[in-house]
Symmetry: C2
Subunit: 183 residues, 2 copies
């Protein structure tokens, strides 16, 4: 399990509500970890029972109560223990590759369109990442030092997207070549 650790990681950086965490998953961690709001709220509840986190209720006038979660000492310790211990290699699950593997069954035109869409999605993602990288490079040395580790995760995103795009180009090339030959 690791949603637990992803949440601990986010809360270590900054306290927040379940909704805040959802946004931070979407905006920052989204490339390499995702969770639905239902999952997050359920996990927060569990982690509160395990005393890894605590919350302060912030009752706002006429708004639903906010639960602002913070790490407990126990939570901070659990995080640092997790960070110390080695991981097993994560499993890749890419349905697109299964589909390509069975690609001879598909309509080539349709497959081509899907690949074009795939490539463009990843190109957009890459552009987003490069913009964030630019921002990072134009921030202060102090900030850059602080954000060194998150920056490295951004680099993973950039290199990963480039590989995706390069591969997509190869597949598109192949599909177009065989298509025009009418195979």
């Amino acid at each position: 399990m690791s949603l637990k650790h992803a949440i601990l990681t986010l809360l270590e950086t900054e306290d927040g509500t379940g909704y805040d965490l959802l946004k931070r998953f979407e905006d920052h961690l989204g490339y390499f970890w995702n969770a639905s709001h239902q999952q997050i709220y359920a996990q927060l509840k569990t982690m509160h029972n395990e005393a890894l986190i605590d919350y302060q209720l912030e009752a706002q006038d006429d708004k639903p109560d906010k639960k602002i979660y913070t790490l407990t000492d126990s939570g901070r310790q659990a995080l640092s223990e997790w960070v110390q211990q080695p991981l097993k290699l994560g499993k890749v699950k890419d349905a697109l590759l299964v589909k390509i593997y069975a690609g001879h069954l598909a309509d080539k035109e349709q497959l081509l369109e899907e690949m074009l869409h795939y490539r463009d999605s990843h190109k957009r993602m890459l552009q987003t990442f490069l913009a964030i990288e630019n921002e990072y490079h134009s921030s202060s040395k102090k900030k850059q030092h602080e954000l060194a580790m998150p920056y490295l995760t951004l680099r993973r995103g950039i290199l990963g997207e480039r590989a995706c795009i390069e591969w997509a180009e190869e597949v598109i090339n192949y599909l177009q070549k065989t298509n025009s030959r009418g195979q």
Copy 2:
């Protein structure tokens, strides 16, 4: 769900037992899809109930019975429908990146060791893929044409591994630099 489709894909290429499928997941599809034997047997049972697959019992002298599964017409149709229809983008879940994100909490030496191990694992994987690619390139034109789509999935593996390794080098570089400066 897509284990179902991965199994349909494998059976479309060649009939086999649950155990055969397990091996084929490990040996061929393993880079982008994985399943435990328990999962596979359970899924085969479900798919048999759904009439997507059928099996012939092969009773061997003194050996446990083999169930050799084959696609039914209905299964073949389900596969081709799945291949036709567009996929939603798969989610990335990479615990190592969560860890790096929280890397300032970790012992730098230990993190470095983990990254070295990560890089070497991926280097080994790349070597394996390149060996398979060589095999492909030295096979007959006919064979190459038959295996064109699986070959494209291999290319994904190769480009993916290269990106992994390149990134790992960046991280290792950073960790060694800051370590020697004693930060």
